[in-house]
Amino acid sequence: MSPQTSLFTGPIVRAAARDALIKLNPSTLIRNPVMFVTAIVAALSTVLWVRAIATGSGTAAFEGQIVFWLWLTVLFGNFAEAVAEGRGKAQAASLRATKADLRAKLLDGRVVDASALQIGDVVRVDTGEVIPADGEVVAGVAFVNEAAITGESAPVIREGGGDRSAVTAGTRVIADWIEVRVTAAAGQGFLDRMIALVEGASRQKTPNEIALTILLAGLTLIFLIAVGTLPAFAAYAGGSIAVPVLVALFVTLIPTTISGLLSAIGIAGMDRLVRFNVLAKSGRAVEAAGDIDTLLLDKTGTITIGDRQAVAFMPLPGVSEGELIASARLASLADETPEGRSIVVLADEKAPGGEGLPAAAEPIAFTSQTRVSGLQIGERSLVKGAVDAVMRRIPNARNADALKQISDDIARTGGTPLAVADGERLLGVIHLKDIVKAGIRERFGELRRMGIKTVMITGDNPLTAASIAAESGVDDFLAEATPEDKLAYIRREQEGGKLVAMCGDGTNDAPALAQSDVGVAMNTGTQAAREAGNMVDLDSDPTKLIEIVGLGKQLLMTRGALTTFSISNDVAKYFAILPAIFVVLYPGLGALNVMGLGSPESAILSAIIFNAIIIPLLVPLALKGVTYRAADAGSLLARNLAIYGVGGLVAPFIGIKFIDMAVTGLNLA
């Protein structure tokens, strides 16, 4: 993905300014009822202003300024949306470039345009070539550079048959070859969807946005009633109120601020996910992320660092620790697995100065039958492996009971015991342990405060799982978990009214991914998993599930904060405009002019200017989102109410006063 771009770059602002004008098209504008009403009112005021000029009315200059700011209010709203879209468009352009002019090599040797490929076609991709369509590897193994979509330049292995069979159009084979069966028709692929997503072309209003739009339209209706009845009330008082003034009051009261920023907030929310290298297939999924109650997390890679590590050597009675360490070290020297390497590291720590690989040594490789590995040095065979496997090799070993005792103790604490044997002699046990990631306990504590339950999913036995769960601070665990167990767990949580998020990569994860409310598929996963989830993590990092929840919450919080700000602004606007309108009817009402604004005209003008310029001033906040921190709902509410509720009450009093000083100083009214 393209690197972080700043909020306002020159080209984006210029393009957005142009788009703001294009978006005046009524058929676009009507999607946003409040802005649509503002535009209608602006058009009406324009007509009245032209009439005022034609009749040489003395108020034409004042009316002209109101008309100007009304249109600017609409344009600022359009501009906010265009800026948000503009950032996505820049990314879409770079994605499109990777897709341009792709050619495909069919098995029969024909070379066709990628757009002519059908689902089920099989193409061959050789070193240096770009994969022309999404598909499954059916033959071959290759290193593929997926930087075009993930931004990660380290190549990944793609091969048929397993969980790493999916390939994406636009990525490049950098070594070896593969044959790919096409699974997505031209224009329907992953890249195409990604382009549509970041561009916002296929953006639909999310359920929460629709509800909010209804509320804002409802408030507009209520203010229409409040303002629309004023001429009759004024007539009763023996006066009248000029239409431009009524218009100014109406537009400042209706929630133009949040309406102008609403779609920008939604687009920016999706964009933040994209920048985070997560693709949400719909805005609905992002909102659901904020509502998650239960997080299903894979143990390996999320809660523990991927591999187990040796933490202790436990010799049998009659065996010295030194002998066990030396033998275990020798048995592991040829073992390139992370576990094996960790044994050597621990041995060197405990007894420095161990010898190198003896010249005559032959590695004993791990097989799924023997389940042991080690080193053959002449007649001497040193092995290590699962306790039962080693015991099977040496049926009548002495000390078997003691070995069993030690290994059971280790298993009970959540560790994995590895037995070490020198020929027919049992030496002792290596204690391997899952290492819980640093800081994960604190993260789970945060999530708990936010009311989110964490569940560890692991293939380990319940004993081991319980121990790791206790160490990591996870709320619950699912041991010896099969895909069916996962699915059942999700269903159970959902029946209790909870929303569940999980991540997965394998084909057998697909049902659970589809069942969960937020299913994040790893990009390295199978095509089936990527189809089943409603988000795809391009970095294939399961830890990100936690951040995705945060991004979902931030999106909703930004929307709520700006709505609250917008509505509480109205109080100050009333105090600016009402005395200005009514002072001619009842001079006593001048006492409501608590801001001491210069004149009725300058008060009205200042209110409408404030109402317009607050939109672009809040665009950065709308795009970046409000500050999000993990906390319980009560303190989040208290904090945001203090900033956006109380701030929304106070800010316009100050803003309108300053604008009034400028307006009066410049003799604008």
Binding site: P207, N208, I210, A211, L212, I214, L215, G218, L219, L221, I222, F223, I225, A226, G228, T229, L230, A232, F233, A235, Y236, A237, L253, G290, D291, D293, R449, M450, G451, I452, G496, G497, K498, G552, K553, L556, M557, R559, G560, A561, T564, I567, D570, V571, Y574, L578, F582, Y586, G588, L589, L592, Y628, A633, G634, L636, L637, A638, N640, L641, Y644
Partner: protein
């Protein structure tokens, strides 16, 4: 303001808090589906069983029952000349007035464009009005029950049965309670007789005819059912309708007791009493603000009078027996609770005191409110508040575990917009038409306040009058009746529709991540949303009425 005055106010609030729990528990027993004694036989007799209704079924039953009630009451009023119990020999009531009165009593408004003792027969009062006083109160509580079920139940389609709820409330609560209250009022000196009047010789030696009638029985339900329609034209300011200070206090308590109790019925039904206490706290907080402003304004007195050497607070339009504190308290109670009974003339309050009474009604009678109506009214505001502020905790807004989505928002907006549309719309109509302008007694902003108050009272289903306005004209009879009808059913229908949607939703369990709808923060937030949404809507109109009035009086101007 006096120490005795504040003591009265705080003792009142403390007693309401103390009574809320037993009242809520009693209402919960009626709300609950466990059968009550004798009711099975009654339902068999009526041919209805406790068959559950969907929200549509419930709404149809409410509408059908109430429209039939309007027709029946209209017929009684038209035909009272030929009906029994008519010792004064009153003729049938004029059609528009009968229409207005029928809508008024069925909608729990009890706006009275007639003088009770000079227009209506005992039959009309007892069989016509008093029956509707019971049934309109029962309707309100029944709808509140249905609304509570929307939150208490999870993933079901039905809201209970209107006929069952209504029967239970009438038979097991309102009738026995009012029988007891009637006896208590009689003991305090309220008349209960079928005689028309007595004739007395006054100190000056002239003959005075003093109207009598079955006052105590109507008084009991008028307060308990927040109806407010007095037997006498001057309502509870009449010595026979409010003989002692204790009777006055009892009347105020009975206005609030059921509305306050319903909040705890709700808390009990949703399994968290704190949810109920929180709603009650928001109501009483707003109430205390209103009382403080009114009492302060009244006690401070009228600067114009004071310039003429009349010291002290504003005693104009008040019963000297009750004085400033009790009258201010009563005025705020009766307008906050959509009761509408009065012991003083709100028209003669200081402008800011009058503003509070008007604003209480414009908020939709949610500060304790009419029995039932106040509860579902404030819950609609709660839904709005949860939606606006709930997003700020980063979750899809939910209330009592029910997600608030587009449908709820649409209906809540309708229920809330009904009030300004009809209050301001009808006020605007009256301000520019000759028929409307003929109504107010005063000119200037005070005259405007009279009109605004009338429609606020009608649409809010309060029924109190500002005084001064001549309402018994075809224009006002019709427009006020429209306002009362829409103000009642224009909220009940969306409320039941919201309930129908919510009851079908699964109830999410509450956790630390849920939006907190208990505690001080939420009380403040709910109160602020009610004040801001209500305030922003009505501030322009109020500025031209009581607020302009206030500044004129402060400047020593007389109209």
């Amino acid at each position: 303001m006096t120490f005795a005055g504040w003591t009265l106010i705080f003792v009142f609030i403390a007693l309401i808090i103390a009574l809320a729990k037993p009242s809520g528990a009693l209402l919960f027993r009626l709300y609950d589906s466990r059968p009550l004694p004798l009711e099975a036989g009654l339902f068999r007799l009526a041919g209805t069983g406790p068959r559950e209704q969907s929200w549509v079924g419930y709404a149809v039953a409410v509408l059908a029952f109430n429209i039939a009630g309007i027709a029946l009451l209209f017929a009684i009023l038209k035909l009272q000349g030929g009906l029994p119990l008519n010792p004064q020999g009153f003729e049938g009531v004029e059609s528009w007035l009968a229409f207005n009165t029928a809508v008024s009593f069925v909608t729990n408004t009890n706006w009275q464009n007639y003088g009770g003792e000079t227009t209506l027969s005992h039959f009309s009062q007892m069989v016509g009005l008093t029956v509707q006083n019971f049934l309109s109160a029962a309707t309100g509580i029944a709808v509140a029950f249905a609304f509570i079920r929307a939150f208490a139940r999870s993933s079901v389609a039905t809201l209970g049965n209107f006929w069952v709820d209504m029967t239970r409330v009438t038979l097991y609560l309102l009738l026995p309670a009012c029988a007891i209250l009637t006896v208590v009022y009689v003991a305090m000196g309220v008349p209960q007789t079928l005689a028309a009047s007595v004739t007395a010789t006054t100190v000056e030696g002239t003959q005075q005819v003093i109207a009598l009638g079955p006052v105590a029985s109507q008084l009991a339900i008028k307060m308990l059912g927040t109806n407010g329609g007095g037997f006498f034209n001057v309502n509870s300011a009449h010595p026979f309708e409010n003989p002692t200070a204790l009777a006055n206090f009892l009347q105020m308590l009975s206005i609030f007791v059921l509305g306050a109790g319903l909040t705890l019925t709700f808390g009990k039904a949703v399994g968290n009493l704190r949810q109920g206490w929180t709603i009650l706290a928001a109501m009483l907080g707003l109430f205390l603000i209103g009382v403080t402003v009114t009492y302060w304004a009244e006690a401070a007195g009228n600067p114009i009078h004071q310039a003429l050497g009349i010291a002290g607070g504003n005693m104009e339009g008040k019963e000297v027996r009750f004085g400033i504190a009790a009258t201010a308290l009563f005025a705020v109670v009766t307008t906050a609770a959509s009761c509408g009974a009065v012991i003083g003339m709100h028209d003669s309050f200081m402008p800011l005191g009058g503003l509070v009474t008007m604003f209480n009604m414009q908020l939709g009678e949610v500060i304790v409110g009419g029995v039932g109506a106040g509860f579902y009214g404030i819950l609609i505001y709660a839904i709005l508040a949860v939606f606006i502020a709930g997003l700020m905790v980063g979750r899809t807004p939910e209330y009592i575990g029910k997600k608030i989505e587009a449908r709820e928002m649409k209906l809540a907006v309708i229920a809330i917009a009904v009030l300004p549309l009809f209050i301001l719309g009808l006020t605007a109509l009256a301000s520019v038409t000759e028929a409307g302008l003929a109504g107010p007694l005063a000119g200037g902003p005070h005259g405007f306040s009279e009109i605004l108050y009338a429609y606020s009272s009608a649409v809010g289903n309060n029924g109190s009058a500002f005084g001064g306005l001549t309402g018994n004209t075809p224009f006002y009879n019709i427009t006020l009746a429209i306002g009362m009808f829409v103000g009642r059913f224009g909220v009940i229908l969306p409320a039941l529709a919201i309930a129908g949607g919510l009851v079908a939703k699964r109830r999410q369990p509450e956790g630390p991540g849920s939006f907190p709808t208990t505690g001080a923060l939420w009380v403040g937030l709910l109160a602020a949303i009610i004040l801001i949404v209500g305030g922003l809507t009505f501030l322009p109109a109020l500025a031209l009425g009581p607020i302009a009035d206030h500044f004129q009086v402060a400047a020593g101007m007389l109209l």
